[in-house]
Protein backbone atom coordinates (compact mmCIF):
# COMPACT_ATOMS: atom_id res chain seq x y z
CA UNK A 1 0.00 0.00 0.00
CA UNK A 2 1.40 3.36 -0.88
CA UNK A 3 2.23 5.77 1.89
CA UNK A 4 -0.18 8.35 0.54
CA UNK A 5 -3.26 6.29 1.16
CA UNK A 6 -2.28 5.14 4.63
CA UNK A 7 -1.35 8.62 5.82
CA UNK A 8 -3.65 9.69 8.60
CA UNK A 9 -6.24 11.90 6.96
CA UNK A 10 -8.99 13.37 9.10
CA UNK A 11 -12.23 11.54 8.46
CA UNK A 12 -14.39 13.71 6.21
CA UNK A 13 -17.48 14.59 8.21
CA UNK A 14 -20.66 15.22 6.36
CA UNK A 15 -21.96 18.70 7.01
CA UNK A 16 -25.54 19.42 7.85
CA UNK A 17 -26.17 20.65 4.31
CA UNK A 18 -25.03 17.40 2.74
CA UNK A 19 -26.99 15.33 5.24
CA UNK A 20 -30.09 17.34 4.51
CA UNK A 21 -29.59 16.93 0.78
CA UNK A 22 -29.28 13.15 1.18
CA UNK A 23 -32.41 13.08 3.34
CA UNK A 24 -34.34 15.11 0.82
CA UNK A 25 -33.20 12.92 -2.05
CA UNK A 26 -34.67 9.94 -0.27
CA UNK A 27 -37.80 11.91 0.58
CA UNK A 28 -38.12 12.42 -3.13
CA UNK A 29 -37.95 8.67 -3.48
CA UNK A 30 -40.88 8.28 -1.08
CA UNK A 31 -42.84 10.84 -3.07
CA UNK A 32 -42.08 9.08 -6.34
CA UNK A 33 -43.52 5.96 -4.78
CA UNK A 34 -46.69 7.78 -3.83
CA UNK A 35 -46.91 9.01 -7.39
CA UNK A 36 -46.31 5.51 -8.73
CA UNK A 37 -48.95 4.05 -6.42
CA UNK A 38 -51.65 6.63 -5.80
CA UNK A 39 -53.93 3.70 -5.07
CA UNK A 40 -51.91 3.06 -1.94
CA UNK A 41 -52.92 6.38 -0.44
CA UNK A 42 -56.47 5.77 -1.61
CA UNK A 43 -56.26 2.26 -0.18
CA UNK A 44 -55.22 3.70 3.13
CA UNK A 45 -58.41 5.66 3.18
CA UNK A 46 -60.71 2.89 1.97
CA UNK A 47 -61.03 1.30 5.37
CA UNK A 48 -61.96 4.61 7.03
CA UNK A 49 -64.37 5.31 4.21
CA UNK A 50 -66.01 2.00 4.93
CA UNK A 51 -66.14 3.00 8.56
CA UNK A 52 -67.74 6.27 7.61
CA UNK A 53 -70.34 4.43 5.57
CA UNK A 54 -70.93 1.76 8.19
CA UNK A 55 -71.07 3.97 11.23
CA UNK A 56 -72.68 7.00 9.74
CA UNK A 57 -75.31 5.40 7.55
CA UNK A 58 -76.01 2.16 9.40
CA UNK A 59 -75.34 2.73 13.11
CA UNK A 60 -75.68 6.49 12.91
CA UNK A 61 -79.32 6.63 13.74
CA UNK A 62 -78.96 4.31 16.68
CA UNK A 63 -75.84 5.95 18.02
CA UNK A 64 -76.75 9.57 17.63
CA UNK A 65 -80.38 9.88 16.72
CA UNK A 66 -79.80 10.76 13.08
CA UNK A 67 -77.13 9.91 10.57
CA UNK A 68 -76.35 13.57 9.99
CA UNK A 69 -75.65 14.11 13.63
CA UNK A 70 -73.46 11.05 13.79
CA UNK A 71 -71.62 12.13 10.66
CA UNK A 72 -70.69 15.39 12.33
CA UNK A 73 -69.59 13.55 15.44
CA UNK A 74 -67.64 10.72 13.81
CA UNK A 75 -65.88 12.33 10.88
CA UNK A 76 -63.12 14.11 12.80
CA UNK A 77 -62.42 10.85 14.63
CA UNK A 78 -62.27 8.93 11.40
CA UNK A 79 -59.68 11.37 10.08
CA UNK A 80 -57.63 10.74 13.21
CA UNK A 81 -58.03 7.00 12.86
CA UNK A 82 -56.90 7.08 9.26
CA UNK A 83 -53.70 8.89 10.10
CA UNK A 84 -52.98 6.76 13.16
CA UNK A 85 -53.24 3.65 11.01
CA UNK A 86 -51.19 5.32 8.29
CA UNK A 87 -48.25 5.75 10.68
CA UNK A 88 -47.81 1.99 10.54
CA UNK A 89 -46.74 2.47 6.92
CA UNK A 90 -43.46 3.92 8.15
CA UNK A 91 -42.53 0.68 9.84
CA UNK A 92 -43.70 -1.37 6.91
CA UNK A 93 -41.63 0.53 4.39
CA UNK A 94 -38.49 0.51 6.55
CA UNK A 95 -38.90 -3.19 7.12
CA UNK A 96 -39.34 -3.90 3.45
CA UNK A 97 -36.26 -1.82 2.56
CA UNK A 98 -34.19 -3.81 5.01
CA UNK A 99 -35.51 -7.11 3.80
CA UNK A 100 -34.99 -6.27 0.14
CA UNK A 101 -31.41 -5.16 0.73
CA UNK A 102 -32.14 -1.58 -0.33
CA UNK A 103 -30.83 -0.41 3.04
CA UNK A 104 -27.59 -2.25 2.44
CA UNK A 105 -27.18 -0.40 -0.80
CA UNK A 106 -27.71 2.97 0.91
CA UNK A 107 -25.35 2.03 3.69
CA UNK A 108 -22.62 1.09 1.26
CA UNK A 109 -22.74 4.63 -0.18
CA UNK A 110 -20.80 7.59 1.22
CA UNK A 111 -23.93 9.38 2.40
CA UNK A 112 -25.39 10.53 5.71
CA UNK A 113 -26.51 7.58 7.76
CA UNK A 114 -29.68 9.36 8.74
CA UNK A 115 -30.82 9.83 5.14
CA UNK A 116 -32.94 6.67 4.72
CA UNK A 117 -34.74 7.32 7.98
CA UNK A 118 -35.30 11.01 7.26
CA UNK A 119 -36.49 10.18 3.76
CA UNK A 120 -38.98 7.61 5.01
CA UNK A 121 -40.43 9.85 7.71
CA UNK A 122 -40.69 13.05 5.67
CA UNK A 123 -42.25 11.14 2.79
CA UNK A 124 -44.76 9.66 5.20
CA UNK A 125 -45.76 13.07 6.50
CA UNK A 126 -46.79 13.88 2.96
CA UNK A 127 -48.75 10.66 2.83
CA UNK A 128 -50.54 11.48 6.07
CA UNK A 129 -51.45 14.91 4.76
CA UNK A 130 -52.86 13.40 1.58
CA UNK A 131 -54.99 10.94 3.48
CA UNK A 132 -56.35 13.68 5.73
CA UNK A 133 -57.31 15.57 2.61
CA UNK A 134 -59.03 12.59 1.02
CA UNK A 135 -61.23 11.89 4.05
CA UNK A 136 -62.01 15.55 4.59
CA UNK A 137 -63.11 15.92 1.00
CA UNK A 138 -65.32 12.85 1.31
CA UNK A 139 -66.75 14.30 4.48
CA UNK A 140 -67.53 17.58 2.83
CA UNK A 141 -69.15 15.75 -0.08
CA UNK A 142 -71.57 13.99 2.29
CA UNK A 143 -72.37 17.27 3.97
CA UNK A 144 -69.84 17.66 6.78
CA UNK A 145 -69.27 21.33 7.54
CA UNK A 146 -65.90 22.82 8.33
CA UNK A 147 -67.18 25.58 10.59
CA UNK A 148 -63.84 27.28 11.10
CA UNK A 149 -61.15 27.28 8.46
CA UNK A 150 -58.30 28.39 10.73
CA UNK A 151 -59.54 25.84 13.25
CA UNK A 152 -59.47 23.14 10.56
CA UNK A 153 -55.92 24.06 9.61
CA UNK A 154 -54.89 23.93 13.26
CA UNK A 155 -56.63 20.56 13.60
CA UNK A 156 -54.73 19.14 10.64
CA UNK A 157 -51.49 20.51 12.06
CA UNK A 158 -52.21 18.86 15.41
CA UNK A 159 -52.95 15.55 13.73
CA UNK A 160 -49.67 15.76 11.83
CA UNK A 161 -47.69 16.58 14.97
CA UNK A 162 -49.16 13.55 16.71
CA UNK A 163 -48.59 11.36 13.66
CA UNK A 164 -44.99 12.52 13.42
CA UNK A 165 -44.41 11.51 17.03
CA UNK A 166 -46.21 8.19 16.62
CA UNK A 167 -44.39 7.23 13.43
CA UNK A 168 -41.19 6.73 15.44
CA UNK A 169 -42.87 3.93 17.30
CA UNK A 170 -43.77 2.45 13.97
CA UNK A 171 -40.21 2.97 12.78
CA UNK A 172 -38.89 1.13 15.83
CA UNK A 173 -41.21 -1.79 15.17
CA UNK A 174 -40.22 -1.84 11.52
CA UNK A 175 -36.54 -1.89 12.41
CA UNK A 176 -37.00 -4.68 14.95
CA UNK A 177 -39.47 -7.00 13.30
CA UNK A 178 -38.14 -9.94 11.39
CA UNK A 179 -40.79 -9.71 8.71
CA UNK A 180 -43.50 -7.55 7.25
CA UNK A 181 -46.01 -9.92 8.80
CA UNK A 182 -44.59 -9.15 12.21
CA UNK A 183 -45.04 -5.44 11.67
CA UNK A 184 -48.62 -5.95 10.56
CA UNK A 185 -49.45 -8.19 13.50
CA UNK A 186 -48.09 -5.61 15.88
CA UNK A 187 -49.95 -2.82 14.18
CA UNK A 188 -53.25 -4.66 14.39
CA UNK A 189 -52.93 -5.69 18.01
CA UNK A 190 -51.94 -2.20 19.07
CA UNK A 191 -53.91 0.04 16.78
CA UNK A 192 -57.32 -1.53 17.14
CA UNK A 193 -57.64 -1.19 20.91
CA UNK A 194 -56.02 2.23 20.74
CA UNK A 195 -58.54 3.58 18.27
CA UNK A 196 -61.65 1.73 19.46
CA UNK A 197 -60.84 2.45 23.08
CA UNK A 198 -61.08 6.14 22.33
CA UNK A 199 -63.74 8.70 21.66
CA UNK A 200 -63.46 8.23 17.90
CA UNK A 201 -66.75 6.37 17.47
CA UNK A 202 -68.58 6.93 20.71
CA UNK A 203 -68.22 9.79 23.17
CA UNK A 204 -66.47 8.81 26.38
CA UNK A 205 -69.48 9.47 28.57
CA UNK A 206 -71.55 6.97 26.60
CA UNK A 207 -69.04 4.15 27.12
CA UNK A 208 -69.30 1.55 29.90
CA UNK A 209 -67.99 3.06 33.10
CA UNK A 210 -65.16 0.52 33.60
CA UNK A 211 -63.75 1.52 30.21
CA UNK A 212 -63.97 5.23 30.84
CA UNK A 213 -60.63 5.72 32.61
CA UNK A 214 -58.86 4.00 29.73
CA UNK A 215 -60.61 6.17 27.20
CA UNK A 216 -59.82 9.27 29.15
CA UNK A 217 -56.06 8.69 29.23
CA UNK A 218 -55.93 7.49 25.66
CA UNK A 219 -54.10 10.22 23.72
CA UNK A 220 -56.27 9.48 20.73
CA UNK A 221 -59.31 10.59 22.70
CA UNK A 222 -57.71 13.94 23.39
CA UNK A 223 -56.57 14.36 19.83
CA UNK A 224 -60.02 13.46 18.52
CA UNK A 225 -61.83 15.79 20.90
CA UNK A 226 -59.38 18.58 20.11
CA UNK A 227 -59.90 18.10 16.38
CA UNK A 228 -63.69 18.05 16.76
CA UNK A 229 -63.70 21.23 18.71
CA UNK A 230 -61.17 23.04 16.51
CA UNK A 231 -63.07 22.26 13.34
CA UNK A 232 -66.25 23.52 14.99
CA UNK A 233 -64.55 26.80 15.82
CA UNK A 234 -63.60 26.16 19.45
CA UNK A 235 -60.22 26.28 21.13
CA UNK A 236 -59.97 23.30 23.47
CA UNK A 237 -56.82 24.22 25.38
CA UNK A 238 -56.70 21.21 27.65
CA UNK A 239 -57.13 18.66 24.83
CA UNK A 240 -54.55 20.44 22.71
CA UNK A 241 -52.03 20.58 25.52
CA UNK A 242 -52.63 16.97 26.49
CA UNK A 243 -52.18 15.91 22.85
CA UNK A 244 -48.96 17.88 22.57
CA UNK A 245 -47.64 16.41 25.81
CA UNK A 246 -48.45 12.91 24.63
CA UNK A 247 -46.75 13.65 21.31
CA UNK A 248 -43.67 14.87 23.15
CA UNK A 249 -43.66 11.72 25.26
CA UNK A 250 -43.98 9.43 22.26
CA UNK A 251 -41.25 11.32 20.49
CA UNK A 252 -38.95 11.38 23.51
CA UNK A 253 -39.31 7.64 23.99
CA UNK A 254 -39.45 6.27 20.48
CA UNK A 255 -37.22 8.62 18.53
CA UNK A 256 -34.05 7.73 20.48
CA UNK A 257 -34.99 4.05 20.55
CA UNK A 258 -35.59 3.98 16.80
CA UNK A 259 -32.36 5.82 16.10
CA UNK A 260 -30.45 3.52 18.45
CA UNK A 261 -31.94 0.49 16.79
CA UNK A 262 -31.27 1.97 13.39
CA UNK A 263 -27.63 2.59 14.20
CA UNK A 264 -27.25 -0.89 15.56
CA UNK A 265 -28.76 -2.28 12.44
CA UNK A 266 -26.50 -0.11 10.35
Amino acid sequence: MSAVTTAAVPAPRLGFGASLRHGLTLTRRSLLKIKANPEEVIGLTIQPIMFVALFVFIFGQALAGSWQEYRDFALPGIIVQTVVFATMGTGLSLNSDIEKGIFDRFRSLPIARSAPLVGAVLGDLVRYTLSVLVITVIGVVIGFRLESLPGTVAAVALILVFAFALCWMSALVGLMARSIMGVQMFAMTLMFPLTFGSSIFVAADKMPSWLRPVIEVNPITHLTDAVRSLIAGGFPVSHIVTTLVWSAVFFAVFFPLAVWRYKRRT
Binding site: M1, R29, K33, K100, D104, R105, F106, P110, I111, T266
Partner: protein, 325 residues
Protein backbone atom coordinates in the same frame (compact mmCIF):
# COMPACT_ATOMS: atom_id res chain seq x y z
CA UNK B 1 1.94 -4.73 -6.70
CA UNK B 2 -0.63 -3.33 -4.31
CA UNK B 3 -3.63 -4.92 -2.73
CA UNK B 4 -6.99 -3.24 -3.11
CA UNK B 5 -8.49 -5.56 -0.53
CA UNK B 6 -6.61 -6.97 2.39
CA UNK B 7 -8.30 -8.84 5.20
CA UNK B 8 -6.64 -10.65 8.07
CA UNK B 9 -8.13 -12.97 10.60
CA UNK B 10 -11.73 -11.86 10.17
CA UNK B 11 -14.06 -13.39 12.72
CA UNK B 12 -17.80 -12.87 12.84
CA UNK B 13 -20.16 -14.73 15.13
CA UNK B 14 -23.93 -14.83 15.01
CA UNK B 15 -24.87 -16.39 18.32
CA UNK B 16 -23.53 -19.91 18.16
CA UNK B 17 -22.65 -19.75 14.48
CA UNK B 18 -19.18 -18.69 13.52
CA UNK B 19 -19.92 -17.27 10.12
CA UNK B 20 -16.28 -16.20 9.71
CA UNK B 21 -13.60 -18.04 11.62
CA UNK B 22 -10.33 -16.29 10.87
CA UNK B 23 -10.58 -15.44 7.20
CA UNK B 24 -7.66 -13.89 5.32
CA UNK B 25 -8.34 -12.51 1.86
CA UNK B 26 -6.28 -10.40 -0.49
CA UNK B 27 -7.19 -9.03 -3.87
CA UNK B 28 -4.48 -7.50 -6.01
CA UNK B 29 -5.48 -4.19 -7.51
CA UNK B 30 -7.14 -4.61 -10.87
CA UNK B 31 -7.76 -8.33 -10.54
CA UNK B 32 -10.69 -10.57 -9.72
CA UNK B 33 -10.70 -12.47 -6.47
CA UNK B 34 -13.13 -15.35 -6.54
CA UNK B 35 -14.50 -16.45 -3.18
CA UNK B 36 -15.85 -19.90 -3.70
CA UNK B 37 -17.93 -21.77 -1.20
CA UNK B 38 -21.13 -23.73 -0.62
CA UNK B 39 -24.30 -22.40 1.06
CA UNK B 40 -23.60 -20.98 4.49
CA UNK B 41 -19.84 -20.90 3.98
CA UNK B 42 -19.64 -17.26 5.03
CA UNK B 43 -19.33 -15.57 1.63
CA UNK B 44 -22.01 -12.96 2.19
CA UNK B 45 -20.75 -12.26 5.69
CA UNK B 46 -17.26 -11.63 4.31
CA UNK B 47 -18.63 -9.28 1.67
CA UNK B 48 -20.69 -7.41 4.25
CA UNK B 49 -17.68 -6.88 6.46
CA UNK B 50 -15.62 -5.62 3.54
CA UNK B 51 -18.47 -3.36 2.45
CA UNK B 52 -18.60 -1.73 5.95
CA UNK B 53 -22.06 -3.17 6.64
CA UNK B 54 -20.92 -5.44 9.45
CA UNK B 55 -18.27 -4.99 12.10
CA UNK B 56 -15.98 -7.98 12.46
CA UNK B 57 -15.67 -9.40 15.97
CA UNK B 58 -11.95 -9.81 15.42
CA UNK B 59 -9.38 -9.26 12.70
CA UNK B 60 -9.16 -6.27 10.44
CA UNK B 61 -9.47 -5.35 6.83
CA UNK B 62 -8.49 -2.52 4.57
CA UNK B 63 -9.94 -1.51 1.23
CA UNK B 64 -7.82 0.82 -0.85
CA UNK B 65 -5.68 1.30 2.24
CA UNK B 66 -8.58 2.42 4.42
CA UNK B 67 -9.72 0.49 7.44
CA UNK B 68 -13.26 -0.84 6.99
CA UNK B 69 -14.20 -0.11 10.59
CA UNK B 70 -12.38 3.12 11.44
CA UNK B 71 -12.50 4.70 7.99
CA UNK B 72 -15.76 3.34 6.72
CA UNK B 73 -16.70 6.60 5.05
CA UNK B 74 -13.56 6.60 2.90
CA UNK B 75 -14.11 2.95 2.07
CA UNK B 76 -17.65 3.72 0.94
CA UNK B 77 -16.28 6.27 -1.47
CA UNK B 78 -14.35 3.51 -3.22
CA UNK B 79 -16.70 0.59 -3.30
CA UNK B 80 -19.71 -0.60 -5.21
CA UNK B 81 -21.88 -3.38 -3.81
CA UNK B 82 -24.07 -5.76 -5.73
CA UNK B 83 -25.64 -7.89 -3.06
CA UNK B 84 -26.83 -11.44 -3.31
CA UNK B 85 -30.40 -10.30 -3.95
CA UNK B 86 -31.06 -7.46 -6.35
CA UNK B 87 -31.61 -4.36 -4.23
CA UNK B 88 -33.65 -2.27 -6.60
CA UNK B 89 -36.73 -0.32 -5.65
CA UNK B 90 -39.50 -2.18 -7.39
CA UNK B 91 -41.89 0.73 -7.33
CA UNK B 92 -39.55 3.03 -9.19
CA UNK B 93 -38.47 2.86 -12.81
CA UNK B 94 -34.97 1.90 -13.86
CA UNK B 95 -34.08 5.52 -14.57
CA UNK B 96 -35.48 6.67 -11.24
CA UNK B 97 -33.52 4.03 -9.37
CA UNK B 98 -30.23 5.07 -10.93
CA UNK B 99 -30.95 8.80 -10.70
CA UNK B 100 -31.67 8.44 -7.02
CA UNK B 101 -28.22 6.93 -6.46
CA UNK B 102 -26.64 9.59 -8.66
CA UNK B 103 -28.30 12.35 -6.69
CA UNK B 104 -27.22 10.82 -3.41
CA UNK B 105 -23.69 10.83 -4.74
CA UNK B 106 -23.90 14.52 -5.49
CA UNK B 107 -24.78 14.60 -9.19
CA UNK B 108 -27.17 17.34 -10.23
CA UNK B 109 -30.43 16.47 -11.93
CA UNK B 110 -29.21 16.57 -15.49
CA UNK B 111 -25.89 14.85 -14.76
CA UNK B 112 -27.69 12.18 -12.77
CA UNK B 113 -30.00 11.53 -15.70
CA UNK B 114 -27.13 11.35 -18.14
CA UNK B 115 -25.23 8.92 -15.94
CA UNK B 116 -28.37 6.82 -15.50
CA UNK B 117 -29.03 6.73 -19.21
CA UNK B 118 -25.49 5.82 -20.15
CA UNK B 119 -25.49 2.96 -17.65
CA UNK B 120 -28.86 1.70 -18.86
CA UNK B 121 -27.50 1.82 -22.38
CA UNK B 122 -24.42 -0.12 -21.36
CA UNK B 123 -26.49 -2.81 -19.68
CA UNK B 124 -28.99 -3.00 -22.52
CA UNK B 125 -31.81 -1.65 -20.39
CA UNK B 126 -32.33 1.57 -22.30
CA UNK B 127 -35.74 0.47 -23.62
CA UNK B 128 -36.91 -0.63 -20.19
CA UNK B 129 -35.54 2.42 -18.37
CA UNK B 130 -38.92 4.09 -18.08
CA UNK B 131 -40.67 0.99 -16.79
CA UNK B 132 -41.19 0.10 -13.18
CA UNK B 133 -38.63 -2.46 -12.14
CA UNK B 134 -41.33 -4.75 -10.75
CA UNK B 135 -41.96 -5.61 -14.41
CA UNK B 136 -38.30 -6.59 -15.00
CA UNK B 137 -37.10 -10.15 -15.43
CA UNK B 138 -34.61 -11.59 -12.97
CA UNK B 139 -31.74 -10.98 -15.34
CA UNK B 140 -32.78 -7.39 -15.97
CA UNK B 141 -33.00 -6.75 -12.26
CA UNK B 142 -29.53 -8.12 -11.74
CA UNK B 143 -28.18 -5.89 -14.45
CA UNK B 144 -29.93 -2.85 -13.03
CA UNK B 145 -28.58 -3.70 -9.59
CA UNK B 146 -25.09 -3.95 -11.00
CA UNK B 147 -25.60 -0.65 -12.82
CA UNK B 148 -26.71 0.94 -9.54
CA UNK B 149 -23.49 -0.16 -7.88
CA UNK B 150 -21.50 1.46 -10.70
CA UNK B 151 -23.09 4.91 -10.61
CA UNK B 152 -20.34 6.21 -8.33
CA UNK B 153 -17.57 4.76 -10.51
CA UNK B 154 -16.23 2.46 -7.79
CA UNK B 155 -12.67 1.18 -7.95
CA UNK B 156 -13.51 -1.86 -5.86
CA UNK B 157 -16.61 -3.84 -6.69
CA UNK B 158 -18.25 -6.61 -4.68
CA UNK B 159 -20.42 -9.06 -6.54
CA UNK B 160 -22.16 -11.49 -4.22
CA UNK B 161 -23.27 -14.50 -6.26
CA UNK B 162 -24.08 -12.36 -9.29
CA UNK B 163 -25.33 -15.18 -11.46
CA UNK B 164 -27.23 -17.37 -9.03
CA UNK B 165 -30.65 -18.02 -10.45
CA UNK B 166 -29.87 -16.76 -13.93
CA UNK B 167 -30.32 -18.84 -17.05
CA UNK B 168 -27.17 -19.74 -19.02
CA UNK B 169 -27.72 -16.95 -21.49
CA UNK B 170 -28.06 -14.22 -18.85
CA UNK B 171 -25.16 -15.72 -16.99
CA UNK B 172 -22.90 -15.45 -20.01
CA UNK B 173 -24.04 -11.88 -20.49
CA UNK B 174 -23.15 -11.04 -16.92
CA UNK B 175 -19.76 -12.68 -17.31
CA UNK B 176 -19.06 -10.47 -20.29
CA UNK B 177 -20.02 -7.41 -18.29
CA UNK B 178 -17.68 -8.42 -15.49
CA UNK B 179 -14.83 -8.98 -17.95
CA UNK B 180 -15.51 -5.50 -19.30
CA UNK B 181 -15.26 -4.02 -15.84
CA UNK B 182 -11.94 -5.68 -15.25
CA UNK B 183 -10.82 -4.04 -18.47
CA UNK B 184 -11.65 -0.71 -16.83
CA UNK B 185 -9.21 -1.47 -14.04
CA UNK B 186 -11.79 -2.20 -11.36
CA UNK B 187 -10.84 -4.65 -8.63
CA UNK B 188 -13.58 -7.22 -8.22
CA UNK B 189 -14.40 -9.54 -5.36
CA UNK B 190 -16.79 -12.11 -6.66
CA UNK B 191 -18.43 -14.78 -4.57
CA UNK B 192 -19.88 -17.82 -6.19
CA UNK B 193 -20.95 -21.38 -5.63
CA UNK B 194 -20.14 -22.18 -9.20
CA UNK B 195 -16.71 -23.58 -9.82
CA UNK B 196 -16.97 -22.85 -13.47
CA UNK B 197 -17.65 -19.21 -12.74
CA UNK B 198 -14.59 -18.84 -10.55
CA UNK B 199 -12.53 -20.66 -13.16
CA UNK B 200 -13.81 -18.35 -15.90
CA UNK B 201 -13.51 -15.01 -14.16
CA UNK B 202 -11.14 -15.14 -11.23
CA UNK B 203 -7.42 -14.48 -11.22
CA UNK B 204 -7.19 -15.83 -7.70
CA UNK B 205 -9.55 -18.08 -5.83
CA UNK B 206 -10.12 -18.51 -2.12
CA UNK B 207 -12.20 -21.55 -1.28
CA UNK B 208 -14.10 -21.11 1.97
CA UNK B 209 -16.18 -23.49 3.99
CA UNK B 210 -17.58 -23.10 7.50
CA UNK B 211 -16.03 -19.66 7.79
CA UNK B 212 -12.50 -20.79 7.00
CA UNK B 213 -10.36 -20.48 3.91
CA UNK B 214 -9.52 -24.05 3.07
CA UNK B 215 -7.53 -23.43 -0.10
CA UNK B 216 -6.30 -20.55 -2.16
CA UNK B 217 -4.38 -19.87 -5.33
CA UNK B 218 -4.91 -19.35 -9.02
CA UNK B 219 -7.32 -21.76 -10.64
CA UNK B 220 -4.36 -23.68 -12.08
CA UNK B 221 -2.53 -23.77 -8.77
CA UNK B 222 -5.58 -25.13 -7.05
CA UNK B 223 -5.80 -27.92 -9.52
CA UNK B 224 -2.15 -28.76 -9.01
CA UNK B 225 -2.49 -28.46 -5.25
CA UNK B 226 -4.90 -31.33 -5.33
CA UNK B 227 -2.01 -33.58 -6.21
CA UNK B 228 -1.45 -34.00 -9.85
CA UNK B 229 -3.77 -35.52 -12.28
CA UNK B 230 -6.84 -37.51 -12.92
CA UNK B 231 -6.94 -40.67 -14.97
CA UNK B 232 -9.93 -41.02 -17.16
CA UNK B 233 -10.70 -44.36 -18.79
CA UNK B 234 -13.58 -44.89 -21.15
CA UNK B 235 -14.15 -48.48 -22.24
CA UNK B 236 -15.43 -49.11 -25.75
CA UNK B 237 -18.27 -51.12 -24.25
CA UNK B 238 -20.20 -49.78 -21.28
CA UNK B 239 -20.58 -53.28 -19.93
CA UNK B 240 -16.86 -53.28 -19.18
CA UNK B 241 -17.14 -50.37 -16.70
CA UNK B 242 -17.00 -52.58 -13.57
CA UNK B 243 -13.97 -54.43 -14.91
CA UNK B 244 -12.24 -51.13 -15.67
CA UNK B 245 -13.02 -49.84 -12.20
CA UNK B 246 -11.45 -52.96 -10.68
CA UNK B 247 -8.25 -52.54 -12.65
CA UNK B 248 -7.98 -48.84 -11.91
CA UNK B 249 -8.59 -49.43 -8.21
CA UNK B 250 -5.90 -52.10 -8.11
CA UNK B 251 -3.33 -49.89 -9.78
CA UNK B 252 -4.00 -46.51 -8.16
CA UNK B 253 -5.02 -47.74 -4.75
CA UNK B 254 -7.80 -45.13 -4.80
CA UNK B 255 -11.54 -45.60 -4.94
CA UNK B 256 -12.36 -44.69 -8.54
CA UNK B 257 -15.46 -42.72 -9.49
CA UNK B 258 -17.57 -44.38 -12.14
CA UNK B 259 -19.30 -41.79 -14.25
CA UNK B 260 -21.81 -42.58 -16.95
CA UNK B 261 -19.31 -43.73 -19.52
CA UNK B 262 -15.94 -43.48 -17.83
CA UNK B 263 -13.97 -44.40 -14.76
CA UNK B 264 -11.99 -41.67 -13.06
CA UNK B 265 -9.37 -41.75 -10.35
CA UNK B 266 -6.58 -39.51 -9.12
CA UNK B 267 -3.08 -40.66 -10.00
CA UNK B 268 0.10 -39.67 -8.27
CA UNK B 269 2.61 -41.32 -10.57
CA UNK B 270 2.46 -41.28 -14.34
CA UNK B 271 3.85 -44.82 -14.43
CA UNK B 272 0.39 -45.87 -13.28
CA UNK B 273 -0.88 -45.07 -16.72
CA UNK B 274 1.17 -47.86 -18.24
CA UNK B 275 0.14 -50.21 -15.46
CA UNK B 276 -3.52 -49.54 -16.13
CA UNK B 277 -3.04 -50.14 -19.84
CA UNK B 278 -1.38 -53.46 -19.11
CA UNK B 279 -4.06 -54.46 -16.64
CA UNK B 280 -6.83 -53.69 -19.08
CA UNK B 281 -5.03 -55.59 -21.79
CA UNK B 282 -4.77 -58.66 -19.58
CA UNK B 283 -8.51 -58.47 -18.89
CA UNK B 284 -9.19 -58.16 -22.59
CA UNK B 285 -11.06 -54.86 -22.22
CA UNK B 286 -11.16 -52.71 -25.33
CA UNK B 287 -10.45 -49.11 -24.41
CA UNK B 288 -12.32 -46.34 -26.15
CA UNK B 289 -10.40 -43.52 -24.60
CA UNK B 290 -7.76 -43.13 -21.96
CA UNK B 291 -6.37 -39.82 -20.72
CA UNK B 292 -4.51 -38.07 -17.95
CA UNK B 293 -5.80 -34.60 -17.20
CA UNK B 294 -5.85 -31.91 -14.54
CA UNK B 295 -8.78 -32.29 -12.18
CA UNK B 296 -11.78 -30.06 -12.72
CA UNK B 297 -12.57 -27.55 -10.02
CA UNK B 298 -15.52 -29.74 -9.14
CA UNK B 299 -13.17 -32.47 -8.14
CA UNK B 300 -10.95 -30.00 -6.30
CA UNK B 301 -13.93 -28.87 -4.34
CA UNK B 302 -15.05 -32.38 -3.56
CA UNK B 303 -11.60 -33.25 -2.30
CA UNK B 304 -11.31 -30.09 -0.19
CA UNK B 305 -14.67 -29.98 1.47
CA UNK B 306 -15.62 -33.61 1.45
CA UNK B 307 -18.96 -32.72 -0.07
CA UNK B 308 -19.82 -32.07 -3.66
CA UNK B 309 -20.39 -28.49 -4.71
CA UNK B 310 -23.81 -27.27 -5.73
CA UNK B 311 -24.76 -28.20 -9.23
CA UNK B 312 -23.01 -25.92 -11.61
CA UNK B 313 -25.32 -24.02 -13.90
CA UNK B 314 -25.87 -25.01 -17.49
CA UNK B 315 -23.95 -27.82 -19.00
CA UNK B 316 -20.74 -27.91 -17.02
CA UNK B 317 -20.95 -31.67 -16.78
CA UNK B 318 -20.65 -31.98 -20.54
CA UNK B 319 -17.76 -29.59 -20.62
CA UNK B 320 -15.97 -31.73 -18.07
CA UNK B 321 -16.46 -34.73 -20.28
CA UNK B 322 -15.18 -32.87 -23.31
CA UNK B 323 -12.21 -31.71 -21.28
CA UNK B 324 -11.46 -35.34 -20.62
CA UNK B 325 -11.33 -36.29 -24.26
Amino acid sequence: MSHAIQAEGLVKRFGETKALDGVDLTARTGTVLGVLGPNGAGKTTAVRVLATLLRPDAGHATVGGYDVVRQSFEVRQLIGLTGQYAAVDEQLTGVENLMMIGRLLGLRGREARRRAESLLERFRLADAGGRRTSTYSGGMRRRLDLAASLVGRPTVLYLDEPTTGLDPHSRNELWDIVRDLIGDGVTVLLTTQYLEEADQLADDIAVIDHGKVIARGTPDELKVQLGGQVLDVRPADRADLPAVAKVVAAVTGAEPVTAELAVQAPVTDSAMLAAVVRGLDEQGVAVGELALRKPSLDEVFLALTGSPAEDTPGDTKNETMEGAA
